[in-house]
Amino acid sequence: MSTAASWLRRNLFSSWASALATLTILYLAWALLPPFLEWALVKAIWWAQDSKACRDLQGAGACWAFITEKHRFIIFGTYPYEQHWRPGVASALLIALWCVSVLRTFWRWWLSLVWVAGLALIAMLMWGGVLGLTYVENERWGGLILTLLLATFGSAFAFPLAVLLALGRRSRLPAVRAVCVGYIELVRGVPLISLLFMASVMLPLFLPEGLTIDKLLRAQIALILFAAAYLAEVVRGGLQAVSHHQYEAAEALGLGYWKRTLFVILPQALRYAIAPLVNTFIGLFKDTSLVVIIGLFDLLTSLKVSLQEPAWTGFGVEAYLFAAAVYFLFCWAMSVYSQGLERDLARDGAPRLLRGA
């Protein structure tokens, strides 16, 4: 009892200001939480045949029935209805791949083989055309799997490009350095949305007549080029954290530039940079939502299209809360993981230089 009282005194009422803050927060919670819970839970409608029941509420309760009614379209987009199990399995597979990859016990060379196999399987599921699966063109892919794929391939392809750019930025060759600095600063200086516009309306004009690149692929390219510039700066931070002695020692061993970089410097640099790298991946995951502006059917787009069906308009607040919850779940998991990893690595002796980078 007394421990509880002393805890309260120490943590909530240590001074007048602190006591005031505590009381204000408690008052606000008392004033705001009940009406919100009443709207979100008590008076909310979870199942409904049509939107009439929701409309009759006149906003007194949330209409989660919108989500339950439309969940398949929101999650799978325009993918053929009877084939929804395919993107479903593919999404699960992709998430499983991520989960396996974050465990340090699995950080072995064969993990890359697992990824190649996994992605091949996902491609097979999504496209079909083999083993009796009907072919589904990628214009019809949509919803959650599109968000996941954009983020996954975005990271997968941006990463090697970023390493090259970071190495180039630290190169001794002035032309290489200039090109890399120019690229990184150019891309980081403009908003992602302008790159997406460029990919969606300008790129087709750059290509030879008759040659077209798929809209999805164009957006993916823009995301890769964008993410690479940001990742490159993180990798550069890692490279800078590697001690000079390591460079010198590797040189003394008579290793050439690539051997030196690949086998001595990069493994250490990337290890230092893991936590900020994960943060950049979280950023990329959130940024995929911008493809709604160029009309790609990701999670946010399919949600907005669902809102357009006349019967279900006007439930935007519910819809966006749902979207926020989905994105939060993924990003928060990644961020908790990155914090844990950061602690582990710090304990294992990596320098704490990059915290918060």
Binding site: E69, K70, T78, P204, E209, G210, L211, G295, Q308, G316
Partner: protein, 335 residues
């Protein structure tokens, strides 16, 4: 050696490019489907339903082309395009045709490198206001806040109308229809302007109480909406144009998806020509001679498409009735 790689890559790209430099029809036949540019979601014109299947009046144009070229209306792939992307997507060859409720204007026809094939929906711009504001004419809208979608002819007509009448207004521009109507019904704007058909459907389907809103008598513009193709490919232009007209002609002839299979017994030579039993209209277009019959069998005539897609939203036929029934839909003769 290293310098040769990008050049070789460039050369390879160029080859790929020239391989495609042929007529759209040949390219479509070769790849086996029609790539159709549609909106990202406009109820009645092009919108995916809960199962993800595209439906709408514009979507039916796409399907009609596929039925004419392949005899199979399902051989279409849809590219959802924003207003900003629609013209470049067509110009660059990303889509084979644009069926995206696009207004035919002279600027677009001449300076954007595209050709409109005709009109599949006649419309005009109007204003909707809440009844409680007690406005009787658009001339009373001085100083009003107006909800409008940007980058459209609607936005330009709106400015023109207020300038012509010496009035000021405050625009609220929102690109997505769903959001712009929400903004109006929530009271963000006094006035909502778009094509009259759109106003009717929005009022009928989205207003909490449709009787609380009035559509003002002024119609301030002509909005002929129609499909467009790339400039300079006359053969493809013809196919798209006549596929669209075939649906109108079928309604005029009284042919529908239900009656088309009995049409073979008709004595009317025009019907015989239409279904390809006589004459060679299909051959002249470069497609199967039963092209028109395929369109009607698989999609239906214009009236059926209208009934299925626009009627449920509260649209009236109005101008989009056949010329024989008081509208202005008029197909040149198929002979």
């Amino acid at each position: 050696m290293k310098r040769l790689i990008p050049l070789a890559a460039g050369a390879a790209l160029l080859c790929a490019g020239t391989a495609f430099a042929q007529g759209t029809l040949e390219a479509v036949q070769k790849k086996g489907f029609v790539q159709c540019g549609v909106s990202t979601g406009l109820a009645g014109f092009s919108q995916p339903d809960s199962k993800g299947v595209w439906k709408g009046l514009d979507v039916d144009v796409c399907r009609a082309i596929a039925a004419a070229v392949f005899g199979d209306a399902t051989k279409v792939r849809y590219t959802p395009l924003t207003a900003q992307q629609r013209f470049t997507a067509l110009q660059s060859g990303e889509v084979d045709l644009l069926a995206r409720n696009t207004t035919w204007t002279v600027t677009r026809d001449t300076s954007l490198g595209l050709n409109f094939v005709g009109v599949n929906f006649y419309d005009g711009q109007g204003f909707m206001v809440p009844k409680k504001l007690n406005v009787k004419s658009a001339k009373q809208l001085k100083g009003a806040t107006v909800c409008v979608q940007p980058g459209t002819t609607t936005e330009l007509n709106l400015s023109d109308y207020f300038r012509a009448n010496g009035m000021t207004f405050k625009p609220v521009v929102i690109e997505k229809l769903e959001e712009v109507t929400n903004a109006y019904f929530s009271g963000r704007c006094d006035v909502f302007t778009t094509d009259v058909s759109g106003l009717v459907s929005v009022r009928g389907s989205r207003a909490p109480n449709p009787n609380d809103h009035v559509i003002l008598p002024e119609v301030i513009s002509k909005e002929p909406l129609g499909p467009a193709v790339r400039h300079g490919d006359d053969k493809w232009f013809d196919i798209v144009k006549w596929s669209m007209y075939a649906m109108i002609e079928a309604e005029e002839m009284g042919l529908s998806s239900k009656t088309i299979d009995q049409a073979g017994s008709s004595k009317d030579p025009a019907v015989q020509r239409f279904i390809g039993a006589s004459g060679d209209i299909g051959k002249m277009l470069g497609v199967d001679n039963k092209w028109a019959a395929n369109i009607v069998r698989q999609i239906g005539n214009y009236g059926e498409s209208f009934e299925a897609n626009l009627k449920p939203l509260g649209f009236e036929r109005g101008l989009n009735q056949l010329w024989t029934k008081g509208g202005i839909l008029y197909s040149p003769p198929l002979r």
